[in-house]
Amino acid sequence: MTALPASVRTLDRSTAGGLLALVGLAIVYLIALRTDAAWPVFWISGVAFGAICQRSRFCFVAGFRDLFLMRQGRMLRGIIAGLAVATAGFAMIMATVVPNPGSGVLPSDAHILPLGIATVLGGLLFGFGMVLSGGCVSGSLYRMGEGYIGSWVAIGGVLLGLYAMARTWNWWWDNQISSDRISWLPTDLNYTGAIVITFLLLGAAFVAVSWWERRALRGLPTFTIPISSAAPEASEDGNTLGSLARKVFRTEWTPLIGGIALAAVNILIFIRYRPLGVVGELSRWSTDFAANIGAGVGELKGISDIPGCVPRFVEGTWFSDAFMLNAGIIAGAFTAALLAREFRLRVPRGPRRYVQSLAGGVVMGYGAGLGLGCTLGAFFSAIPSLALNGWVYAIALVVGAYAGTAFIRRFP
């Protein structure tokens, strides 16, 4: 009689840990409920975001990079589908807040941002940095929860980059951003025109990605990914709730489902508060922390006039609704990874990968500060806001990611 194989023993530990983590999520939820009206909403949204990303392996970097590296558009099509769903939802919300868009009034919480050189440069830096470090900002956050040490390093780099941005912010504000125009499509086109244009562009992007991919795969049979799990499945005891739970939490979701689910989270949080974004809060962490160790950056000009991903300082406490969102993303991914038996401490191989994560993070952090958001806030939440800055940022991301891909190809 041999000892139980290691996989069986850890299997139980992982699932048990996942259930324990679920209890932890619920406890934080209850505490949040008693503290502030916004906290539980942001906590749940963060947890949902992290869990959806973990299950669908949702990755903005893969979306852009794999288009060039492998001519694969699976992830990017999921992102585009999510943008389409969010556009429909955001339009309904914004039409309720601002029924007459021609009046020049803007829906205050939508991610309609100053559009200019900062948008382009921010997107270029971000696109390059995210490919170099192997994850964007929101992606590195959820991978922190999955046990990737490299992602902890990358987020450290992002905080450094955001601090460097904060130190130079007032220069950018005085010389560029304060005089940048704001372009919200419905102002000139009304909602109907803006929605039609957005859908047409998304449709064109979807078709272009599929065409690009099909050209590369010409002559190859279509195939499904051959996953045959050697791990012993828990006994099928006819417990339908249990088998349903296994189906949801153990099988991989497609990027298409992931993108649509993320869009649903984005719509739900915008109905009550504001669209998803993680960079503003990270920026606050780095500037608050710097101030605490005597390296404060002083007043940041103009940030109270900008919606979206700029730091929001809360008097007297380190915790805020945005903190709950970011923490929720990490906790949600952690829990989902445990339940899926996929949690593992993943240690990068060799010092070079640490340098790559850190440097990519710094570049990406500076870009996110300059471009007023990451792939989430300045792209995934901005295009559905019917804001032109979302599209400009997207194009800059593509160019930056292309450069990043060329770079890592040369230095493997």
Binding site: S7, G135, A230, E252, F343, P412
Partner: protein
């Protein structure tokens, strides 16, 4: 000189995208061109959907199995040899 009985293993645990896929491709194209079989070890779940398509583009078949929680083996094999033998 061939080592028919020893299936070579490529250990890319700890690597994240795109390196598991790039290193597998390099193994198949340059390091061991024409190798009938290769086992790739990874702890990066996204690699499970990037490595097989690339291997299939090169005419290989693939099978994924779990080695332990959070760690997988991708068995890449020459589809024709496998069918014949």
């Amino acid at each position: 000189m061939s080592e028919q009985n020893e299936t070579p293993v490529l250990d890319v645990r700890g690597e994240i995208c795109p390196y598991p896929m790039l290193r597998t491709n390099r193994e198949l194209d340059d390091v061991r061109p024409g190798v009938p079989e290769l086992r790739v070890w990874t702890d990066h779940p996204p690699a499970l959907s990037t490595i097989p398509p690339e291997a299939m583009k090169r005419g290989y078949g693939c099978e994924i199995s779990e080695r332990r929680p959070g760690e997988w083996e991708i068995h890449i094999f020459n589809a024709e040899t496998a069918a014949a033998g």
